[in-house]
């Protein structure tokens, strides 16, 4: 009897695992095994044509301080700086913009569904090569922005934004912020959850809209703000297409748009330094994991999960 029952449980487990099988196989073959493989490669010198050659910590040392024979890779350090600058300007700006627009969209107007759709269009299209191509044209010396600045505001001697190392990264930040649609929709969903009574009660107490924003809206949305921040940060760190197209695959001018992913691609597939690229991938993983962990830590004090959550 007991045996029979055990057999049935086993069969039940097995048939459940049959449903999980595609994912499990994929996980082991296409995620877990590659992860360990790239960890191994990160300690080797490997150009894909000849077998990997073990070199210990060398790849990692070159990134951060150099070895006895090899100098520090300043381009790597630069790509890290560029990426951090990009992430920590574009993500906060994007969230601020998304929140402002979400609050506009939360007003009672008939055309809101239409507006919401129109405001989402940049996000819908923004990740494509087509828009990156357009960006190159917008911010060129004789591009759309300068045409408008010149003909409407009469400004002259305007910079070629895209080919000027001082401004090139900013054009990519603008492109990132422009795609604020997803956090906007999430904020909007969050705003609609805040009970109206909170606002009514506080206005009876004489609180103005600014006071209400800081006392009600912001605290109520804090879990969502935090969630958006983490998600946007993770994806911003991995940005590739924009920088690749806008800089023509070079990360230029003067490496000023050399995103981390782009440098990884250039190292791994341009110079065939696959061991080094694998090490870079692991550093990226560590950066993203630790920033996520720090955010979760910080959320303990910054985020209020009200009783309604």
């Amino acid at each position: 009897m007991k045996n029979l029952r055990r057999k049935r449980v086993l069969l039940d487990n097995l048939s459940s695992y049959a449903f999980l099988a595609p994912w499990l196989i994929g996980f082991f073959l296409l995620t877990l095994y590659p992860m360990f493989y790239s960890l191994y490669l990160s300690f080797t010198k490997f150009n894909i044509r000849t077998p990997p050659q073990w070199i210990g910590w060398s790849n990692y040392l070159v990134m951060f301080k150099g070895t006895e024979t090899l100098p520090r890779d300043d381009r790597f350090v630069n790509s890290m700086m560029v990426t951090f600058k990009y992430v920590f300007t574009s993500v906060p700006l994007k969230l601020v913009f998304a929140l402002i627009v979400a609050m506009l969209m939360n007003k009672k107007l008939k055309l809101i569904p239409l507006y919401r759709a129109l405001y989402y269009i940049p996000t819908l299209l923004g990740g494509s090569v087509a828009i990156a191509v357009l960006w190159r044209r917008l911010f060129a010396a004789d591009g759309l922005l300068n045409m408008i600045l010149n003909s409407v505001f009469g400004l002259e001697n305007l910079p070629a934004w895209i080919s000027n190392p001082q401004y090139a990264l900013s054009t990519l930040v603008v492109l990132g912020v422009w795609q604020f649609g997803s956090p906007m929709i999430i904020f909007l969903a969050g705003l609609q959850q805040i009970p109206r009574e909170y606002y009514e009660a506080s206005s009876v107490d004489g609180a103005g809209p600014i006071r209400q924003f800081f006392a009600i809206t912001l605290p109520s949305l804090s879990p969502i703000i935090f969630f958006n921040f983490v998600m946007q940060m993770i994806s911003a760190f991995q940005s590739f297409t924009q920088a690749f197209i806008v800089s023509g695959g070079s990360g230029g001018p003067l490496d000023s748009t050399m995103f981390y992913s782009l440098y990884l691609y250039i190292k791994g597939f341009g110079f065939s330094e696959m061991g080094y690229a694998a090490a870079m991938a692991w550093i990226l993983l560590i950066i993203i994991a630790s920033l996520t962990a720090i955010s979760f830590r910080a959320s303990g004090t910054l985020v209020s999960y009200g009783s309604g959550e």
């Binding site: 999980l20 296409l30 494509s128 357009l134 044209r137 690749f244 992913s261 690229a277």
Partner: protein, 283 residues
């Protein structure tokens, strides 16, 4: 009373105007792109206006031919093949996985689920190089397989999560009573849950289609000959050979490349909103 109504009306008018002005400003680059694609090449560099002074279809004719031997007809065909296969593979295999996580009982479920959620945050770069080496070893470079095959193994955890969330929201007694009536697990999945999950499946189809359409990185990595190129790769060909005369055709093809996203978005808008709002990840 009526005075208050008028101020209200004026306020909402101002708000409407403000939203429209901001929106037009935001969409101006896209509108300009569309306009520019109908302008002769020399006017693209001199006109900030959306509307072309002289209207021409030359850019589309020249662009469609592409550069060299392969034209955009091939690029579009390749893009559609990759995206349609990817979208359906994702919908089928992610929903099977989601069904297991949301409804079935088995040992180790919580651990696997946690692992699946972790892969959601895993930067793809960590697997890029080994996957490239593996696919190269089996001779898959310059085929669609490295892009399409992973979708048959539910590697896009985002969609599993989306579908799990959705299935958890469905009442449990339907499938429980079906099991009591002797329905198999696969029967519950295919005949009861699949039909109920259609909205989430549409969201999955939509996003996987669009993300694959825009997934430049993998196409750049694995597609090496123009016969296998997709639309983004075709656009990149223009960039590489950029002379002034190519901007017009490149703009024209850029506009065409955006059309599928436009059509899908405006015909299936509510699925977009739902997909973003329930899982809240990039879009």
């Amino acid at each position: 009373m009526s005075k208050r109504k008028t101020t209200q009306r004026i306020n909402s008018l101002i708000l409407n105007l403000f939203i429209i002005a901001l929106g037009v400003g935001m969409l101006y680059p896209i509108l300009w792109l569309i306009g520019a694609s109908f302008k002769p090449s020399n006017q693209i560099f001199t006109q900030a206006s959306i509307f072309p002074k002289t209207f021409t279809l030359d850019n589309y004719v020249a662009g469609w031919k592409g550069i060299g031997i392969v034209g955009f007809g091939t690029f579009f065909k390749n893009s559609f093949v990759i995206c349609i296969i990817s979208a359906f593979a994702n919908a089928i295999f992610c929903s099977i996985t989601a069904y297991a996580f949301a409804r079935l009982q088995f040992k180790g479920k919580n651990i696997w689920f946690a692992i699946m959620m972790l892969t959601l945050m895993l930067p793809s770069h960590v697997t890029t190089i080994p996957r490239y080496i593996m696919f190269r070893r089996v001779g898959w470079i310059n085929t669609f397989l490295p892009i399409v095959v992973p979708k048959f193994f539910a590697t896009d955890a985002f969609f599993i999560f989306l579908l799990v969330q959705f299935i958890r929201g469905l009442p449990k007694d339907i499938d429980e009573s079906a099991i009591i009536d002797g329905c198999s697990k696969f029967g519950v999945y295919s005949r009861i849950l699949m039909p109920l999950t259609v909205p989430a499946l549409i969201t999955t189809l939509l996003f996987s289609f669009l993300w694959t359409w825009d997934d430049f990185f993998n196409q750049l990595l694995y597609l090496t000959s123009p016969h296998k190129y997709t639309v983004p790769m075709g656009l990149r060909l223009f960039l590489d050979s950029s002379g002034i005369s190519f901007w017009g055709p490149m703009f024209a093809m850029s506009v065409l490349s955006l059309i599928p996203a436009f059509i899908l978005f405006f015909s299936l808008q509510k699925y977009f909103v739902r997909g973003i709002a329930t899982t809240g990840i990039k879009g």
